[in-house]
C-alpha cells in the first residue's frame, strides 16, 4: 500500500483504497464525498462547474468503477464455474466478462496515470444462492444495472476528457449487457 498517496486522499476514499469497504459503504462514501464538496462550496459562496470535477473526484470515480468491475468479473466467473449455464448463455457470459476485464485494465491504467493506487478485488464475494441459470442471470442483471446507474450518475462529474471518453464507452457496454439480460429475464426494455 502506498501510504503517501493515501495521505493525500479525501478521508472518505481512504478506507476504499485500503480495501476496508463494501458496496454499501462505497455508495454512502461517494455520496458523502459529493455532499461535503457541494455544501462547502455553496457555503463559501464560490461556484465551480460541478461538485466532482477535480482530479481527486476523477480518482474516486475510477476507484468506484474498478470496485464494480472487479465484482462483475467475479460474478460472471461464479456463473461460468457453476456449470448451470447453457452453452449459448455461457458464451454470452464469457463475452460480457471479457468486456469487464477490458474495463478493469483501462481503469487501472487511468488510476495509475492519475497517481492513484488501484484497489484489489475482494478476497471473497457473496453472491447468494445460485441454484439455476435464472439465479445467475438475475445476479448479472442486478450488477449490470448497478453499473449503468453508477456510470450514469457519475459521468458528468469526470473532469479528465480521456477518462470521460472511456467512461462513455464503458457505460455503452453496461447498457448493452443490461438490455440483453433484461430480455433474457423477460424484463421489458421499453
Amino acid at each position: 500500500m502506498n501510504t503517501e498517496k493515501l495521505e493525500t486522499m479525501p478521508e472518505s476514499l481512504k478506507d476504499l483504497v485500503s480495501g476496508q469497504t463494501s458496496r454499501r459503504t462505497l455508495l454512502s462514501r461517494l455520496a458523502g464525498t459529493a455532499s461535503v464538496g457541494v455544501i462547502g462550496y455553496l457555503l463559501s459562496g464560490k461556484l465551480r462547474p460541478a461538485y466532482g470535477q477535480t482530479p481527486e473526484g476523477d480518482l474516486g470515480i475510477l476507484l468506484a468503477a474498478l470496485f464494480l468491475e472487479h465484482e462483475a468479473i467475479a460474478a460472471y466467473q461464479a456463473g461460468a464455474e457453476s456449470k448451470l449455464l447453457s452453452e449459448g448463455v455461457l458464451k454470452v457470459a464469457v463475452a460480457f466478462q471479457s468486456d469487464h476485464k477490458y474495463h478493469r485494465g483501462a481503469i487501472i491504467g487511468a488510476i495509475r496515470t492519475l497517481g492513484g493506487q488501484p484497489i484489489e478485488p475482494e478476497k471473497k464475494y457473496s453472491f447468494g444462492s445460485l441454484k439455476n441459470e435464472k439465479d445467475i442471470l438475475r445476479l448479472a442483471q442486478k450488477l449490470e444495472k448497478g453499473a449503468v446507474d453508477a456510470y450514469s450518475l457519475l459521468a458528468a462529474n469526470i473532469q479528465n476528457k480521456d477518462v470521460l471518453n472511456f467512461g462513455a464507452q464503458a457505460l455503452t457496454d453496461e447498457v448493452r449487457h443490461l438490455t440483453v439480460l433484461n430480455g433474457a429475464l423477460g424484463i421489458p426494455n421499453y
Partner: protein, 185 residues
Amino acid sequence: MHSEEQKSEHKVVILRRQLLYLGGLTMAASALAEPMPGVSAEQKFAGDLAILNVALGLEHQAIAAYDAGAGSKLLTPDQLKLAVSFQNDHKRHRNVLVKFIRRFGGKPVDPESKYDFGTITSATDIVKLAHKLEEGAAKAYLTHAYKLQSIEILDAAVPILVDEVRHTTVFRQLLGLSVTERLTV
C-alpha cells in the same frame, strides 16, 4: 422489523437521492454562473451548441422514421408498442435538446420537410431502418458527448446515450445480430 441489511439498503437509497439532489443544486448554480464575464454563453459553448444541433437533427429524423413505421400498418401490435415507446424517448430527447440549445443562446434546427427512408415493404424493413438510425445516433453520442464543456448539458446527454444504446441492442436482438460485439466508434 427491518433487518440490518434492509436498513443499510434504505440508507444507501437516501444517500443516493441526496447525491442526486445536491448534484441538481450545483448544476442549477453552475447554469446561473454561466457565462463567464465578457464571454457570451453562445461563444463559450459554441462547440456544445454544434453538437446539440447535430444530435437534434438525428432525433428529428428518428421521430419521423418511427412515424413512417407506425403509419405503414406493417407492424404487429407488439412491434408498434415498442416503436411508440422508443419514439416517445426520442421526443423527450428532442425537447431536452431544444431547451438547452435555446438556453445557451443557439437556434434549434427544424426537422427536414421530407425524409427519404427508402422502400418499406415489411416489418423487417422498418426494424432494419430503426436499427440503422439508432446505431448511428448511439455512435454519434458516443463520439461527441465527452467533448461537451457544459456539465449540465453533459449530464443531460448521458441518459440519452443510455436510451440509444438500449434501442440499438433491442433491434440487434430482433434482427438476430450479435449482442456481444462492442459498439465502437
